[in-house]
């Protein structure tokens, strides 16, 4: 049997120099500045009214969990990812959660880069190229799910690397930690459920030096905690909806955010690989470069290949599941993993440093080009243009989203100003979660999960003061749990492109995307 771990040599890794201890204050200053900068950016964007879709979704679920109306669990129990929904509820805001997890991630990147065996100049240059990379930036600013996923993936990959080349920490301890981090991934990304098989295979290959009993036990350990996590998710879904896999199909679960239907891409394995290679070369060619480089120069080609392929495999599964959308944020994970890869490569020779720098620069420029070409989801186009002070492109989806966000803010402001405390609002929060998030208050709302929702639909005159529904030309109109039955009651087609009329109510706001009715 090949002793995998015993074969590891010091030569495989660059010699880390602990620069922390040499220039501690400087490192700390950089960290603090970065953290403050990130916090300022995320919170500043929120204040300016730019609210990314994932944050609005998590925020609305967190508000429901914290404030109700009861039974709030029915509305949140099937939401995915549960870890972030309840995490946001715990810290009261997804923005705070985003700042916390983003700070940890950036801190980790800076810390690892500070330990690279190259001069401080190179460290700073490379760190800047990573942090300024649009994919990394967009991930930090708009997608808490990917930030959390990246954090856990980073830890998992580090642990797997240590299992391959153990240093201070004992093997069983590392396996136990892998079990915990992988379980966390199960509560963040649905594709990780399938990816679990790949992780177990990788773990088996990493432990070739151990007995088969040990390997089997290690797999059992990791599998158990992950199955608990999956079981938790399934159980919550069952409790909330009687359907253990409700999050896959029900609107408002978060797996498929409303309005993005046309952007979802599905592909088989072969096609998926091609697509991913194409994306990777456009957005993060540096990861591909370093990955190939590492696999080529290590003795453990298989093991290193498996470790580094894990994030790519997750992406592939995502495509295969049909849950992939073209967004740059998800590629932030590769940028966050770069310090780990750079740490494994000796980069003392100038040409290597130049090559890495070139790779990072190309990644940055090419991903900027992708963004500039509007090849991503509208949410990212909006954020990119907003950050770079550019005009919005004439692209329909981006314009629509922009228009929608303006209308959402208008409706919210109007409701704030005119609604009396005792007046109820009938609304489908599963589709109109940005309005709920902007309202930041669930008092007086009548939502589909409530017992009184059906009664309110039958007798809106007696129960509600306001009705908020999808606009007549909104693609979501047929899914709206308020508009659809009310239209049927009025004898209209649910898909009709005519404005909704409800006896006793008059329309006070009408647009292609939203219609607001007030009791006369």
């Amino acid at each position: 049997m090949v002793s995998v771990r015993s074969k590891s040599t010091q030569g495989d890794r660059s010699l880390p120099t602990n620069l922390d201890s040499q220039q501690g204050p400087a490192i700390w200053a950089v960290r603090v500045l970065t953290i403050l900068g990130l916090s300022g950016l995320v919170i500043g964007l929120d204040w300016q009214g730019y609210i990314p879709q994932p944050i609005a979704f998590l925020g609305s679920k967190a508000i429901l969990a914290v404030q109700g109306p009861e039974p709030s669990f029915v509305a949140t129990g099937y939401a995915f990812p549960p870890l972030l929904v309840y995490g946001s509820a715990l810290v009261r805001s997804p923005v705070i959660l985003q700042v916390i997890s983003g700070t940890l991630l950036v801190g980790s990147v800076i810390r690892t880069m500070g330990k690279l065996g190259v001069s401080r100049l190179w460290q700073i240059l490379w760190t800047m190229l990573i942090l300024l990379h649009p994919a990394f930036g967009l991930m930090l600013l708009r997608d808490p799910t990917w930030v959390a996923t990246t954090l856990l993936l980073l830890i998992t990959l580090r642990l797997l690397w240590q299992i391959l080349q153990p240093q201070d920490l004992p093997l069983s301890f590392l396996v136990v930690l892998v079990g915990l981090t992988v379980a966390g991934l199960m509560l963040l990304r649905f594709e990780a459920w399938w990816g679990l098989v790949f992780i177990l295979i990788a773990l088996w290959c990493l432990l070739l030096a151990e007995t088969w009993q040990y390997r089997a036990a290690a797999l059992f350990i990791v599998l158990t905690m992950s199955l608990f996590a999956i079981g938790t998710c399934v159980y919550l879904n069952w409790l909330a909806t009687d359907n253990p896999l409700a999050f896959l199909s029900q609107p408002g679960s978060g797996v498929r955010l409303p309005g993005l239907d046309s952007f979802f891409v599905q592909a088989g394995v072969g096609e998926g690989i091609l697509k991913i290679i194409s994306w990777m070369i456009q957005i993060a060619p540096i990861y591909v470069l370093l990955m190939v480089w590492l696999i080529w120069r290590t003795k453990f080609h298989l093991q290193v290949g498996l470790i580094l392929a894990l994030p790519i495999v997750l992406l592939l599964i995502n495509l295969w599941e049909g849950l992939y959308t073209p967004n740059l944020s998800q590629f932030g994970v590769y940028l966050a993993l770069l310090p780990l890869l750079l740490g494994q490569l000796p980069s003392r020779q100038s040409w290597r440093k130049l090559l890495i720098t070139l790779g990072l620069a190309v990644s940055l420029v090419s991903s900027g080009w992708v963004l500039q070409q509007n090849q991503v989801i509208p949410d990212e186009i909006l954020l990119w243009r907003h950050l770079t002070h550019q005009h919005l492109p004439e692209l329909q989806p981006a314009q629509q989203l922009h228009q929608k966000t303006i209308e959402q803010r208008k409706i919210t402001a109007y409701l704030f100003q005119t609604r009396q405390p005792q007046q109820h609002i009938l609304m489908d929060d599963r589709l109109h979660f940005p309005i709920l998030y902007l309202l930041h208050n669930t008092e007086g709302l009548i939502l589909p999960h409530q017992y009184e929702f059906d009664v309110a639909l039958d007798y809106p005159n007696q129960w509600v003061g306001w009705i908020v529904v999808a606009g007549a030309r909104s693609p979501l109109r047929s899914q709206d749990a308020v508009r659809r039955p009310l239209a049927q009651q009025m004898g209209a087609e649910p898909d009709s492109e005519e404005a909704l009329t409800v006896p006793g109510f008059h329309t006070i706001f009408d647009s292609p995307y939203y219609q607001v009715l007030q009791r006369s």
Binding site: A65, V66, G68, E70, P71, S72, F73, Y86, A89, D168, L169, P170, S172, F173, V175, V176, L177, G179, L180, Q213, Y214, A216, A217, A218, F220, I221, T224, M225, F228, A229, G231, T232, Y235, L236, L239
Partner: protein
């Protein structure tokens, strides 16, 4: 001149006129003008000295007289005198010759009282005086009383092999050794050589190699090694020592009426000192002579102790084994030790004793809470119940987080510790005496196994001090212990029959006899890792000065026997391999486990020993140590025990543990503010979660499960009142994350130990936890009805042969 000087030195020292240190000083500085200088120093007059020296150097010794063929002691002659007079005047009539000469052995020549007394019986006889030491006289008198006078004479008569042992046969060398003036080692080497010659034929080559190996390693006397290894009985060893020292052996008299002991006299010395130096003062013989039982006649420290108390006295030594001295101490300090074992802590620190279950403020608090609870239930029924649910679930969530952090940290540090102890500078000579307390009760069947396990300990056996703590009424175990013929390092301590009849009381009683610098406790069925004591010594030597105790891990040798033993192993592995190292790492208070806790004996005594009224005295002691500013650590070593394999027995054992936790929690919460000040808020909170949390978790868990299953079956909507808003989320976290983590962390510990076959059983933990709840309700009931009742765990039920795997 040097011989005379030596003799003089011996005399002066043995009479307590001068200490060995003084003598060294005198000899070194003023050797040329010794007599003048002694005179100047006012130790004694010059003429007295000259007289005494010349007399001692020209007298005939009884041993020499007895070696002449035809010379024997006529035991009928002594019957003419009361024995008290013989002892008082220090003489023995030996023989009446045809020439009407009475040969008498005297300690001091030319005593007119002796002459008068003899002449009253035989008016015309001429006296021929032989020199006899007090010890020799005593030996002969005892021999006469026991009808063993010929044997006593033979001992005196026995000639030493002149060739090999010329040097030790010399009175000067003996004198030097006795006085402690030269290193006992020199004399001991000679004794060793003779013992080796005598024993060599009786030992197998393997045994010889073992002994030589141990001696090369430790440098301990051969006699000690052989007795510790069980190749030579203590009594035989004493017999052989007697050949050199010519001192009577007392062993046969110990425990009989023949031995007259001055009880008041023994009170002048600390039992601890007597135990440590192996002596026991018997009685005054005359005005200035003290008869003392001593194990090693060449131990000058004993003489120093005695002379410190009674300067100028003559010490008459009789030989006794370590067990003889233990028996004497137990016999004459029994009540004192027993009282201390029970009441010491209660007297010294009543607020730290569990003798009182509830204090008045605690009862008032309990009453207040009950009244408030009833009021809330009557006025806000659902609100009150929802509040209880919220508090319970909040507590569970914090406890889960706390245990997760502890476990991960524990798992990390536990493994990093591995191997560090090997840096111990292993010099057996420098290793301290280690006391091992083994309380046994009604367990005759485990005694041979226990003794075998103790033999396996990788620790110099002459540095081992094993005390088998036996209840005096437990004759069965006592007989089994005697029959097992334990090696010399094992002593039997009989615990007086009194209430409370608990293990801590027995341990406290045993503590009085402990000689070790360090001390540990093992249960009778324990199999400790052989190097555990060495690891503990390493931990103490490398730990902080306030490190009072280190706890070794406990695990089970019969782990695969049935469901219960598997679950018990999972639980213990988690507790000792994850949680306790985690607690240690964060420097939180550590509740000690039942056995294998190693103490610094002096600190243990300072702490007041164990609380005999607390049924988990070990957990209580750990917390008490932390409260007093001491540190409790853990060591990476395991003791294998027998896991309880019967449900009923398991529940009884567990109910005692939980009751003990309840007692401990109550004791250390009598004054919470004081506890916070002493422990610090962080440690206090950790203690509340660890001790208090365990109780709350076990008591509340069945209710929560019942509610859950009731809902699962009926889907009753009224339950929503119990779990409003956040409470529901907290409950879900407890139900899903709590149980998952509980199971997972349980797995990690057995994974580390490579007990892979137990991994799937961790999934059954929720069932196992219900057994805890049953036991906890039993414990709660007993806390009010029988707070000090010790639910004895029945051992020896396992059908699995002992192995540590």
């Amino acid at each position: 001149m040097s011989d005379r000087l030596t003799q003089l030195g011996f005399y002066l020292i043995s009479r307590g006129y001068i200490s060995p240190e003084h003598w060294q000083l005198v000899q070194h500085v003023m050797i040329q003008t010794l007599q003048q200088n002694l005179d100047q120093l006012d130790f004694t007059s010059q003429s007295q000295l000259s007289q005494e020296i010349s007399r001692r150097l020209h007298q005939t010794f009884i041993s020499g007289w007895l070696q002449i063929p035809g010379h024997d002691i006529d035991e009928r002659l002594a019957h003419h005198f009361p024995i008290q007079q013989l002892i008082k005047l220090e003489f023995l009539p030996c023989a009446l010759t045809a020439e009407n000469t009475l040969v008498i052995a005297v300690v001091q020549f030319d005593q007119p009282e002796i002459k008068q007394l003899v002449h009253r019986v035989w008016p015309q006889v001429t006296l021929e005086q032989l020199s006899i030491t007090k010890n020799q006289l005593l030996a002969l008198l005892m021999g006469q009383r026991l009808g063993r006078l010929p044997q006593a004479c033979d001992q005196l008569r026995q000639a030493l092999p002149t060739k090999t042992f010329q040097s030790i046969d010399s009175p000067f060398v003996k004198a030097l050794a006795r006085s402690g003036f030269i290193a006992n080692q020199i004399y001991q080497d000679q004794v060793d050589r003779q013992i080796w010659q005598q024993m060599e034929q009786q030992l197998t080559p393997a045994q010889q190699r073992e002994i030589q190996l141990v001696q090369a390693r430790t440098g301990s006397p051969l006699g000690d090694i052989m007795t510790r290894l069980g190749y030579l009985s203590e009594l035989s060893y004493q017999d052989r020592l007697n050949q050199f020292a010519k001192l009577p052996i007392i062993s046969m008299l110990v425990g009989t009426d023949f031995l007259e002991v001055d009880v008041q006299l023994a009170q002048n010395f600390q039992p601890r000192a007597m135990m440590d130096h192996h002596f026991f003062p018997l009685a005054w013989v005359g005005e200035r002579s003290l008869q003392v039982v001593i194990r090693n006649p060449y131990n000058s420290e004993v003489e120093s102790i005695l002379h410190q108390k009674f300067p100028g006295i003559e010490i008459i030594k009789v030989l006794g084994t370590e067990r003889d001295i233990t028996t004497l101490l137990a016999q004459y300090f029994r009540k004192d030790f027993s009282d201390r074992a029970i009441y010491q802590l209660l007297k010294r620190a009543p607020h730290e004793s569990a003798a009182r279950v509830f204090t008045v403020p605690q009862l008032l608090t309990l009453y207040g809470l009950s009244v408030m609870g009833l009021w809330l239930l009557s006025h806000h029924f659902w609100g009150a119940l929802a509040g209880v649910m919220l508090v319970l679930n909040l507590f569970f969530v914090i406890a889960i987080g706390f245990k997760l952090i502890l476990s991960v940290q524990g798992l990390k540090v536990r493994q990093q510790q591995h191997g560090r102890w090997e840096t111990l500078n292993f010099q057996p000579q420098s290793l301290p005496v280690y006391t091992v307390l083994v309380p046994v009760y009604n367990e005759p069947e485990v005694i041979p196994i226990l003794i075998e396990a103790l033999r396996q300990l990788d620790y110099p056996q002459e540095k081992l001090d094993v005390l088998l703590l036996l209840e005096e009424k437990d004759k069965v175990t006592l007989e089994a212990s005697r029959a097992a013929n334990p090696p010399g390092f094992v002593r039997f301590i009989l615990i007086p029959d009194s209430q409370p009849k608990t293990k801590p009381k027995a341990c406290n009683y045993g503590l009085a006899f402990a000689r070790g610098e360090y001390l540990t406790i093992y249960d009778a069925e324990d199999i400790p890792d052989p190097d555990q004591l060495l690891k503990a010594v390493w931990a103490f030597k490398n730990g902080p000065s306030n490190l009072a105790c280190v706890q070794a891990a406990l695990n089970y040798f019969n782990r695969d026997e049935n469901f219960l033993t598997r679950m018990f192993t999972l639980e213990y592995s988690y507790w000792f391999d994850c949680l306790l190292p985690g607690l240690e790492s964060f420097q939180f208070p550590i509740p000690l486990g039942g056995t294998s806790n190693h103490f610094r004996t002096d600190l243990l005594r300072q702490l007041g020993g164990w609380d005999p009224f607390n049924v988990t005295e070990d957990a209580d002691l750990g917390i008490r140590a932390s409260q007093r500013g001491y540190v409790v650590g853990v060591i990476n070593s395991t003791t294998y025990e027998e896991a309880n394999c019967q449900t009923k027995n398991w529940i009884r054992q567990r109910s005692r543990w939980i009751k003990g936790y309840m007692q401990t929690w109550l004791v250390h919460n009598r004054n919470p503010w004081k506890s916070i000040r002493k422990l610090g808020l962080k440690n206090w909170l950790a203690y509340q979660f660890f001790i208090g949390g365990t109780i709350v978790a076990f008591l509340s868990s069945p209710f929560l499960w019942l509610i859950y299953f009731y809902w699962l079956l009926t889907r009753e909507t009224w339950l929503v009142y119990l779990f409003p808003s956040w409470t529901l989320y907290l409950s879900l976290v407890c139900l899903l994350l709590g149980n998952a983590l509980g199971i997972y962390l349980n797995m990690t510990a057995v994974f580390r130990r490579r007990y892979f076959q137990l991994l799937p059983y961790a999934l059954l933990n929720p069932i196992y936890w219900q057994l805890h709840s049953i036991a906890s309700y039993m414990a709660l009931w007993q806390l009010f009805t029988k707070p000090f009742y010790w639910e004895k765990t029945q051992h020896g039920l396992s059908k699995v042969k002992k192995h540590t795997g």
